[in-house]
Symmetry: C3
Subunit: 323 residues, 3 copies
């Protein structure tokens, strides 16, 4: 992973230049993003779901790793801001002609790009791009990390915070559990950094030992290996997706065994506060990490997360690219 000590996502005045990671963003920047998203969530309710904030801007969806779902949310957000959107699935293109990441970036920058939305299998790729743009005097091109390796997925983290604030109003009196494959999850990293920064007094992680990063406690979380214990009295349950590729192999016994211990069932959910909400970044593995009765139940706010995700992405794009 890159050294991100020199935080390239903020300028000298502490204003957002890029969105690369939640780690390193101060509370007031996070709150400003959430506040900006509120009116955008109203745009989506209108007859004409469009505002001209990014009219004539070129937004490039640079997906070095396939993800139709995430790409779609950014594409919609950019189109509702009236930007021109260019989708690039790079594994099937120049990369296969042997061009390097930075040559690709240089080329797209030369096409007068205004914004890169980057998904990459390697942790740190969006940082590398942002640093390269700075080094080549093109920091007017903004970078949004749409998920890099196991590192970060900051817009997912932000939409989760928007969702929590929407339902719970205040972060400073909550107990929140993040459940599942913490070890491999960029989503979990972004969520935990955001929760801590926003002042959530108790953040718990619940996972088998094999799916916990070593030293996770230093992030400021309490660790639980027993799900029932960990869920007791929480206000928010944030489930993680169990990647299919983890289900085979040495880390886990079987999807059925996993579900028994770490799947969210109505019985386990009953241990949380009665008004606890259940979140999931999607796509869900029903019957693996979550029971359908919970996924479709009254406490689930999984679909509102998606809706808020569009508003949050519009807010980030507008803040970065709105001139």
């Amino acid at each position: 992973m890159l050294d991100t000590a020199a935080n390239p996502q903020l300028n000298a005045h502490g204003e957002l230049l890029h969105l690369l990671s939640i780690e390193g963003l101060p509370r007031d920047v996070l709150m400003r993003i959430l506040d900006t998203a509120v009116p955008f969530s109203e745009v989506a309710e209108r007859e004409v779901k469009k505002v001209p904030l990014l009219r004539g801007k070129s937004v490039f969806n640079l997906f070095f790793e396939n993800s139709t779902r995430t790409r779609t949310t950014f594409e919609i957000a950019a189109k509702r801001l009236s930007a021109d959107v260019i989708n690039l699935n790079i594994n099937t293109s120049s990369a296969s002609k042997g061009e390097s990441l930075l040559d690709t970036v240089d080329n797209l920058a030369a096409m007068q790009a205004d914004m890169f939305v980057v998904r990459h299998a390697s942790s740190g790729a969006p940082y590398l791009i942002a640093q390269h743009l700075a080094a080549t005097q093109r920091e007017h091109i903004r970078v949004i990390n749409a998920g890099d390796g196991r590192h970060a997925h900051p817009t997912q983290g932000l939409l989760d915070m928007y969702t929590i604030r929407h339902y719970k109003k205040d972060f400073t009196n909550l107990t929140i559990a993040v459940v599942g494959d913490i070890l491999h999850s960029r989503v979990a990293r972004s969520q935990i950094h955001a929760l801590i920064t926003l002042g959530v007094p108790e953040v718990r992680v619940i996972a088998p030992k094999t799916l916990l990063p070593i030293g996770v406690e230093r992030m400021g979380v309490r660790v639980f290996n027993d799900m029932k214990e960990g869920l007791r009295g929480v206000d928010v349950v944030m489930m993680l997706r169990l990647q299919n590729e983890r289900m085979q192999g040495a880390l886990l016994p079987s999807p059925q065994e996993y579900f028994k211990s770490y799947g969210l069932t109505p019985e386990k959910l009953a241990l949380a506060k009665p008004d606890a909400i259940v979140m999931h970044p999607g796509p869900m593995n029903r019957g693996v990490e979550i029971d359908s009765a919970v996924a479709d139940g009254k406490q689930a706010v999984i679909l509102p997360q998606v809706t808020f995700g569009i508003a949050v992405r519009m807010a980030v794009m507008a803040m970065l690219g709105g001139g």
Copy 2:
């Protein structure tokens, strides 16, 4: 196939909510679509081929089965109505992550979709989606079936009706033959339902026994196994595409044999009325179901079908989504 008795494509006032199948649509709805398409066919002749009817609306092309041609016609139609279009080829995306059809639909609905254009290999998938949207109080999202399994391809049926009306003015004095692989053809099903509903007095199907569904007569058609007999005196010849996958296997002897018996040649066409028109949904297998001399001949209206197809799709989209 789903039970479509409860017709979810019409509301209590008999207005079109979704376009799922021609079966079950009354004559006046079909005529209203055809009438609405007329001015849209003029939009395409203008210098600026655009009207703002769907401005700010989000149209999702949900293609679970690859079809560049059909997707393109819907994409053009939506863009000429000023909609924002998002193309999703789902076989390569969430579906491969194991997400169910309805979870995908829920997610896209949560992104404030206005319209789903659905192509699916399974008969009934668009019905399932429409019923699910109703069950979840989101019937404001409209569904257009762009071809489902062997079931229906209603916009193809409608553009065929538009074409016939354009050239023949009146449906109620025509003899029309549908020729080819009736058994596997969703196009044939939609055509036959439309022709019968619009009052065509004699609808014939011409096919070898192995390519006819059992009990096809109950649809109201006359069956011919001999093409020369079946073409005698018809006003319209509607050829079907012979799917490549049918050409191997037990149902057919060989493409050459098929062409000899059921390929439309100038000689066979001479048995129809002198002013008979020849239609084909495309893409054509020249030399298999149709001779190039016919495909490119004076009686062919195959390219006008494509042109009218854009207008008909614009009409359907405008009726469903125009507020």
Copy 3:
């Protein structure tokens, strides 16, 4: 290769109908394109990078050969002209259903296309399309060749001319070398025709004998097999990409050997004039045909080429399709 004697890209008044090849275009047409591109390069510097010249027009990117990079430049150019852009990667679509090139063209024409941007592995395919459109009375649909086989890549040639004029002002006092795999390069063909037409007094080609077409001298160029000799005193070095597929096989010893003889290093570049510029159509094979010290050095104008490429493509599209 097709007989292009009857030049279908100019009408009876010598005006541009299609852009198929630089060969056969008179000097004043080339100059008019370059002049038209100048204001478009300023559009890209604006806050709102959009002009309404092609509003309501349908531009089809017809890519029968995959090229994300080239497709992207045309897509951006068309969107900045406010056109509706439809991307079609035909290898995965109708073509796989066995539809012929001309049937595909007929179909898209019937959808009221205004412009086809065509990339095809077969030399002459865009000519074939233009001739077919003329034969079927649809010459109002304009064709732009985005690279056909080994034949031509005219917008690349034009953007190269724009770049040379930008840095060197006048073509008529220059010595220019084109270096690399001339034999297989459509880019080289377009460049050489353009340079000769625009009055460059000395055009050199530098390549090993195995990568030179027989009789290349008849194009009006001086041939050098020794790179050092060929570079002596030139104003412009135009490097070509060495296709990966050439690196294996009998034509070349190895990438390392090739680099030793024909790779552009600072040492070799020192033989050119001190103010010589270095060009490359991209994507570059660093360490094969060009040293990184040169690619990223002060004399390289490789990224400006990309920027000018958008302006030149906008100019061509506006001239062809702007009414």
